[in-house]
Symmetry: C2
Subunit: 357 residues, 2 copies
């Protein structure tokens, strides 16, 4: 088992990595407290891993809630199902919520933990690549609103994150590739060598070889932990983690949650951000090409859907949480491995990018 620490003072917590960790009894014991546990999962993940987790928690008062699977259920209404279960089963402030699943389960369970009785502890057991390298680490929790993604939420750090890369073996191909988009993102914003490693090792990753998976997941978590510990509440540097997300969220919202996977939308968003960076003279066209090539090699889309007009893009991007006084702030690349956040760009160049199909 590897162990990495996310350093946030009194809110610091460990990220535990390994193969087969879900079958290790007592690994979560230090983080469980003395009261009840509610495991929240979904109907896809439950048949695969719920029994392992229940065994791991053996002997405690454990309740479970199995939610429907899908981004379209990441709503206040589904959140209320978690509150219903907590109250019906008599859970109190000492309770620990355990999120077993992908980003949707983690974000909702974390937000429920942030709000239940004004805050209880929770633990993340991410079972998708996207959740392992991104959403389970850093304490952002939320549900969607029909007018915008992740618009209702909280910063609430977990007590621990437990990553068993064996769970990636059962992941559908399209979801696995969606997760690779975030892995590639870390390399783009902060680690040029990791980008080169990804270029070299994409075939091993796609074949889900253990060593490649462990390395990519651990490096991604380490890079994310670095950024988050420097800026927990996204006052500054943390915004670079949103490379491609302003474009990507617009695509997700426009197409309807669930039709494009998150990683697919941000893959296109990263291409758009790279093209914009190129148009502004920040990034060489050969680097723009390398970025497109790596995303394509990962099996990700690199061309935006045709049915969004430039104006629709702008409208959807203006509700982005990073926007200030109606001005859309973009995460751009100065080079592969170096990102900046800027509101100081030529509007006509952005318009040109949004017209490209």
């Amino acid at each position: 088992m590897h162990r990495l620490s996310l350093d946030l003072g009194e809110r610091s917590y460990p990220i535990l990595f390994g193969r087969g960790l879900l079958r290790v009894k007592d690994v979560l014991e230090p983080y469980l407290g003395r009261e009840g546990v509610l495991v929240v999962t979904n109907e896809t993940v439950a048949p695969l891993y719920l029994n392992d987790v229940l065994k791991m928690l053996g002997g405690r008062k454990v309740d479970q809630l199995v939610l429907p699977d899908g981004e379209q259920y990441k709503t206040l209404d589904t959140l209320n199902l978690i509150f219903n279960t907590l109250l019906e089963k008599g859970h109190n402030r000492g309770t620990v919520l355990l999120a077993l699943g992908g980003g949707v389960i983690g974000d909702m369970t974390g937000f429920a933990a942030a709000c239940y009785q004004r805050g209880v502890d929770f633990i993340q057991i991410p079972t998708t690549l996207l959740a392992q390298v991104d959403s389970s680490v850093g304490g952002k929790t939320a549900v969607n609103h029909r007018l915008g993604k992740n618009m209702i939420g909280a910063f609430h750090q977990p007590k621990a994150v437990l990553i068993d890369i064996n769970t990636l073996k059962t992941l559908p191909d399209r979801e696995f590739k969606s997760g690779l988009a975030e892995v590639i993102k870390y390399s783009l914003i902060i680690d040029r060598e990791f980008f080169a490693w990804l270029e070299e090792n994409m075939q091993d990753l796609l074949a889900r070889k253990d060593q490649a998976l462990l390395y990519a997941v651990e490096v991604s978590c380490r890079l994310k932990a670095q950024v988050v510990s420097a800026d927990e509440r996204e006052g500054g540097i943390r915004a670079i983690l949103n490379l491609g997300h302003t474009f990507g969220h617009a695509i997700e919202t426009h197409q309807g949650y669930g039709s494009w996977l998150h990683g697919e939308a941000i893959a296109v968003g990263m291409v758009m951000a790279a093209q914009m960076s190129g148009l502004m003279g920040l990034l060489t066209s050969s680097d723009v090409g390398r970025i497109e090539n790596l995303l394509r090699a990962a099996g990700l889309p690199v061309v935006r859907p045709e049915n969004i007009s430039a104006q629709q893009f702008l409208d959807l991007m203006a509700v982005d949480k990073k926007a200030q006084r109606g001005i859309i702030r973009l995460v751009l690349l100065e080079s592969i491995g170096t990102a900046i956040v800027s509101a100081d760009y030529d509007r006509s160049k952005l318009a040109a990018i949004l017209e490209l199909r």
Copy 2:
């Protein structure tokens, strides 16, 4: 204008008191930021004070949302109306929410501010006595769940609290008296001299004389600020603010939100806590009598509703947020002016208190 500071490090904020403050332009200017404002109020308060507040904010982008009035609307569904307005009107992270109304408006608006885009600023303008002396100060925000009061919420401190005691002049008598219950509570848990002052000045308070109102509101806020700054997240001492609330919440939940006012329920709850303290030999029977007399002089009920059985009380009290491993913790009085929190009491004595009608 008087000014008191709630000292919480970087989350410190001022509580501003006075007569006619709603008509003072620019008093809120330092707390508004540079983006939009959403004023959230209800249909009772809007005709009385919304215009004053809009004038006070003159010149800015201000939206307004008028909600139905009543504890029964303090729900996730109503909360979503606030999110709808914020998103439809394009409010971003720099927006400030302004709660104009009683505790329900303040608790919901504060919780909406805690969650919208993972947290925006808010300002409290409490217009009821209960909200001025209690709910607007201290950063507790929440909505109710059908299985328990304030079960879903957050700790989120306002940027400022603006108290205009003129708003108390329009308050219905029953609501005014409900607020007095919390004023009396502060004297009971922490300030014996204030209790004596209340015994002396109850008639002036009930007549809503300016000097008496200003004094009672300011002392109450000062006492609450003391407790909150010592223990922001209710890890310890802050729990004494719940004197009477474990009993009182059980009454409110059992009777249905809105049929008993909060202060009425906790007035009875404080009598029950005083009786329990008496039965345990902590409080003299003459002090129990003084407490009952002062509450009665304030026009508050001192006898619990007949239709709750002892078992129903216990069940409802067990979901209290202060309960630990199913054990109900009680706030008790060692004397008038000194409270303790205890799980170490004789269950049969509690049963006897719950049987009393």
